[in-house]
Every structure is written in structure tokens, then in C-alpha cells.
Symmetry: C2
Subunit: 338 residues, 2 copies
DNA sequence: CTGAAAGCGCTTACAG
DNA sequence: CTGAAAGCGCTTACAG
């Protein structure tokens, strides 16, 4: 049960140099002669030598490991973000430790302990928030923290957020322009910072327009919740004609409930706007007009921030969601095609 | 830029014991007195000590890290499997190193080198196949290999597969029972072992039934491909009335093309069967009858195999896909409800 | 049951 | 530019 594997010693012997030289030859900035480096590289190549990152991580203050802490990995938006993040991180020469926090409440804490055990250089939170005290422990251990669509940043961490509020406001404008007069807001009870911001942006803009607002909020953020949301909303005597769903997953469910359970035509009798622009929003059965998360930019921003030493002050990066216009919102005036 | 972090030495000092005792106190099977262990545990707790897995991985022949090698992480089926795998692995006390192989062709090789660098205990392949030589290198480094829905196993590795062929055959029987007579097979050009097996199972059963088979195969495995597949199939003069899509993603696209571009009613005029049972198959717009991947069982089998020392011979685990009956296949006889 | 010592594979001052 | 030496934080025979 032993693990052979070739070490720097083997390479040194073959190249006829010291172990120190092997290390230098393989370290980008190190001072070493061209000739020695070439000999070492050749020997390493020949033996199939791979630096043991465990050992190097023990010495240097960088392991190259970034922890990704997320729940609901199987969900469209999360999965997409995960893909983008791992890709960018790999391009930056980092490796991803994926920690799933679906189970139990103390799992964020356990995730962080794991991350510390493996001395990850940083932790990126896609879900959940670390308790204040734990976050501090992480930072004491030299970990940097990236919080995506989370609440509060703290020194040494960065917050990557979207202008969710603005999107909520814009949704109202779009719905009004579509001629809708009975607006509704459909959301889950998840209460994450992004959902709350989308909700309040929408709510405030509706009020500002002097209209009544129907609000329905239940369960977790899912297709199934959307189905129920749609059922409740469509069953009302003052059935809404325009609804903003804080998430595409819920929007899809809501659309299905409206169409199949109530025979409501979309967008003729009901306009729907979602958020996230998940792949399914683009499927012909939905053709959902939605605010797209700039996933690549989010991943890029997180990775970039981790790359450069960065200021110690808490940073906040705000990206904007861009509307993807499809066919779930009524168009009053036919576009003038030339 | 140094990383403080408390070490076993600190704990030893506080508890008034040697570093060796700290190690023993924190190792499940070690011989140590109850009293000493208690003192150590208390001290560790107090200092917030976390064993440095980098250092322990250097010594023991186990790092607790499992590499997960996958492409198209954002895709429904993959994302789901990823979620299940990380969950099971974590339950088993392992940690997941996620390696994304979407970029370039040599990325599987790079992925494996990364895995070796971090001395992962094993690598689980969800996509791609390691080159023979590289796989050998991995095994020489003591890594075990799990191949999910891949081709050939080799000693020291396990292959987890589905009875794809049987599902293909069964699809024919279902379609025939639904009264379909012009059967079609719709697939992508990905040519993975699972797709090939599903295809040949279907093809052979159609032939055995003495029917003609229309076969359409293009592009990558995606919704968009399904759209094109559906367009081609529905445009034929001998339009099929029953089709088996080797993947739900393609089935959804195919259904949309049939309905929205050709006005074909499903399941009245066209019966469709998919494979994977992704979440969207259950959405009301699709209600797709599909063969479900036993995702939890797959993840469980992989994890279990990694847990017990296992035989050195190549192992093969075959799981079966179970049909999830929905509403995309015509039912000739009304079920007799009591 | 416990401690002192060796060693895992690396990197990095320190001399030369 | 290079090598000998120290040390990262752990585990594990080896004595006692």
C-alpha cells in the first residue's frame, strides 16, 4: 500500500544536480542558469516528475487550492456558475476544492474547517454565509474570502454582487410598457440578499407608479414553488396580468401553472419576467424574458481579485444583469422592421 | 504574508503532552489513555486546532482528496451527478477536487497531472477517458480510478455502468405498445459508450421487430441539437410517430421543434422517450417519459468501492435505469382505475 | 501508554 | 549560480 512516485531527489540524481536546483528549475522566478534548468527539465520530463503540492504547500504560503462552498449544485444557475468558476480558476493555475453544503445547518462550518485543514488559499461562497467568528478564523489562517451575492463583506474579503434592485425596478417599467396594470411579485422564502433586493426594487417601483401590488412568497426557490406560486396568483379574482419572478426556475413553474392549469395565454394575457437567464429560459416552451447573470464576469471578477494581492480593505464589486428579451412579455407596438 | 495557524505543537504544550500524543489523540484507532485523549481534545478545541492535512497527507498514504474529472458541469445530468457525488464523498469523510475538462483536448491529461500533484487518493471520471499510459501513471502513484459510464476498466479500477442496451430495447417495446409503427432514433455524435449502447439496443430491437428504422444523429448532446433533430425528423415525408432520444436534453429540443414548428401533437401524433430523467423532464411543458439514471446509486457505488480496499482485479458494476412514466408516450388503453 | 527521533518531499535563507 | 542545511507540520516505528 505504499505510494512510490518519483521525487525531486530522483530528478536531481538523474540530472546530476542538487535537490535545491530541481526546485529552482521548476520555480518560475528563481535564479538558475539556463543550462541547469534545461537539464533538470529534461530529467523531470523523462521521469514523469510532478511536484508534490502537499509538500510545497507546507513550505510556501500558497497551496493553489481554492475552496468553493455551495449548496444546490444540481440547480441550473448554480451549476453554470460552478462551471465558469472552475474554468477561470484553472486558467489561473488554481485547483478547486468543491464543498457541498446541502446537508444540515452546521455544514457551512464543517466546510470551512475542511478548507482550513487543507490550507486553501481562499474560499468562495456561492451559498450560505460563514459565521462572523469562523470567517475570522479563516482570515487568521491567511485565507481570503469571496462572497458571491451575499450580504456583508469584511476586511480582506470581496463581495461580488449584481444590481438586483435596479433589475427589479426595470421589470416594473417593462411590464408597464407592455400595458400590464395588475402587477405581481412572485418569490420564494429563501430571503437571500439578492432575492430581497430584487423584491424591494420591484415593490418600490410599483408603489412609485401608484399601482397596487400583489405579492406571493412561499417555499424554496424551485420549479415546484413556481407552479404553486402560479396557481395561487392565477386563482385570484383580481388575476395579475404582469408578474416578476425573482428566479427563472420559479418563472418556468409559474408559466406552466398559468398555461396548463388556467389556460392563460402568455404573453397575451400574462406577461412574465424572470431572473438568471438559465438555459431553460431560452427553450422554446418558455422563451422567457429574463435578466441574465453575467456568469463569466462574476467568475472573472472573483478570480482576478484572488490573483492580485489586493487592498486589505473590504472590496465590493457590482456587476449588472442585462435583460435578455424573449417572448414572455407582451409587445404592444410591433417593432418597425425595415 | 505569513500564515499563523495553530499547530500540534501548540496543542501539545497546552495539554502538557508530546506532539506524538496529540497525533494519537486525534487518530481514531490509536492507543492512548482516555485521560490523555480528553486533555488533548480539550486543548485542541480551545485553540481551534485543525490537523494540517497537507502534512498528514505527506506521511500517510492517504490524503482524503478525491479528484472528480468532468466536462460540461453546467448541464442538468452532470450537475446532478456532481451534487450526489460530492455529498456521498463528504459523508465518507473525503474531500472533492473538481477538475473541469471543458477546455482543449489535452485537458484530461492536465487534469490527471493536477490530481497526481495533490496526491489524490482516487480519480472519478464522469467524462473523457484517460490515456492508457496516464492511467497507469496514476495507478503507479497509488490512485484508484472510477470510470462512470466509460468504456474499459483496467485492473485497480472500477467501471460503473448502466444497462443502456436494455433500455434501448425496452424503448422499442414501449413505443410499439403505444401503437407506433414508424420508429426513429435520435442521437448526437458524441459517441460515448452509453449513447452507443442505447442506440444499438434500440436499433437491434427495431430490426428484430421487422420494422424500418429512421436514424438521425448530429452534433453535440444538447437542447439545440434536439431542436435540429426534431426539425429533420418531422420534415420527412415518412414522418416518424415514435422516437427514442438518447438523452432528455435532446428530447426536450425535439419535442419543441415538433410542436412549435410542425404543430405535431404529443403524444397523440408523436410519442417520445428520453433518457436521464433530468429535472426538466418532469416539468409540465415536457412531461417526458424517460429512463432515470440512478444517480444516488451511481454515487454510492463509486464511493463504496473507494471505501473498502477492494480486490485488485478490474471491477464492473452495472446498475439499471428505471423507466419514469409520464405523458409523452401515447397510451392506447385507458388504465382501469378502480 | 508515552516520548524522542526519524522522515515524508519540498523550499529557502545562508554561504561560497 | 549552486549546494548543504534547516525547517514546514505531521505520523510512526522504536524504546522504555
Amino acid at each position: 500500500m505504499s505510494r512510490p512516485s518519483v521525487s525531486a531527489k530522483d530528478v536531481a540524481d538523474l540530472a546530476g544536480v542538487s535537490r535545491a536546483s530541481v526546485s529552482r528549475a521548476l520555480t518560475p522566478g528563481a535564479t538558475i542558469s539556463h543550462e541547469t534548468r534545461a537539464r533538470v527539465v529534461a530529467a523531470a520530463e523523462k521521469l514523469g516528475y510532478q511536484v508534490n503540492r502537499l509538500a510545497s504547500g507546507l513550505i510556501r504560503n500558497e497551496t493553489g487550492i481554492i475552496a468553493l462552498i455551495a449548496s444546490e449544485i444540481g440547480t441550473p444557475y448554480r451549476a453554470q456558475l460552478l462551471g465558469a468558476l472552475t474554468e477561470k480558476l484553472q486558467q489561473a493555475g488554481k485547483v478547486t476544492l468543491l464543498i457541498n453544503t446541502d446537508r444540515s445547518d452546521e455544514s457551512v462550518e464543517r466546510a470551512l474547517r475542511q478548507a482550513i485543514s487543507y490550507r486553501t488559499d481562499a474560499a468562495i461562497f456561492l451559498s450560505g454565509m460563514p459565521a462572523w467568528s469562523l470567517a475570522e478564523t479563516c482570515q487568521k489562517n491567511g485565507m481570503r474570502l469571496v462572497l458571491i451575492n451575499r450580504d456583508e463583506a469584511r476586511p480582506g474579503s470581496v463581495l461580488v454582487r449584481l444590481d438586483d434592485r435596479a433589475a427589479g425596478e426595470r421589470a416594473v417599467a417593462l411590464l408597464l410598457a407592455a400595458g400590464c396594470r395588475r402587477l405581481a411579485l412572485a418569490s420564494s422564502e429563501a430571503g437571500t440578499p439578492s432575492l430581497i433586493a430584487r423584491e424591494s426594487g420591484f415593490r418600490d417601483a410599483v408603489r412609485a407608479a401608484g399601482l397596487d401590488l400583489v405579492e406571493e412568497r412561499i417555499g424554496v426557490t424551485s420549479y415546484r414553488t413556481g407552479l404553486e406560486l402560479g396557481t395561487r396568483l392565477m386563482a385570484r379574482s383580481d388575476r395579475p396580468d404582469g408578474v416578476f419572478c425573482t428566479t427563472d426556475l420559479m418563472a418556468c413553474g409559474l408559466m406552466d401553472a398559468a398555461r396548463f392549469r388556467f389556460g392563460v395565454e402568455i404573453p397575451r394575457a400574462l406577461s412574465v419576467i424572470g431572473f438568471d437567464d438559465i438555459a431553460q429560459a431560452g427553450w422554446e416552451s418558455y422563451a422567457l424574458t429574463s435578466f441574465g447573470q453575467p456568469i463569466d464576469k462574476i467568475a472573472g471578477a472573483a478570480t482576478d481579485w484572488l490573483q492580485n494581492p489586493a487592498e486589505t480593505a473590504a472590496a465590493r464589486i457590482t456587476l449588472s444583469a442585462s435583460l435578455v428579451w424573449r417572448n414572455s412579455v407582451r409587445q404592444l407596438h410591433q417593432p418597425h422592421n425595415s
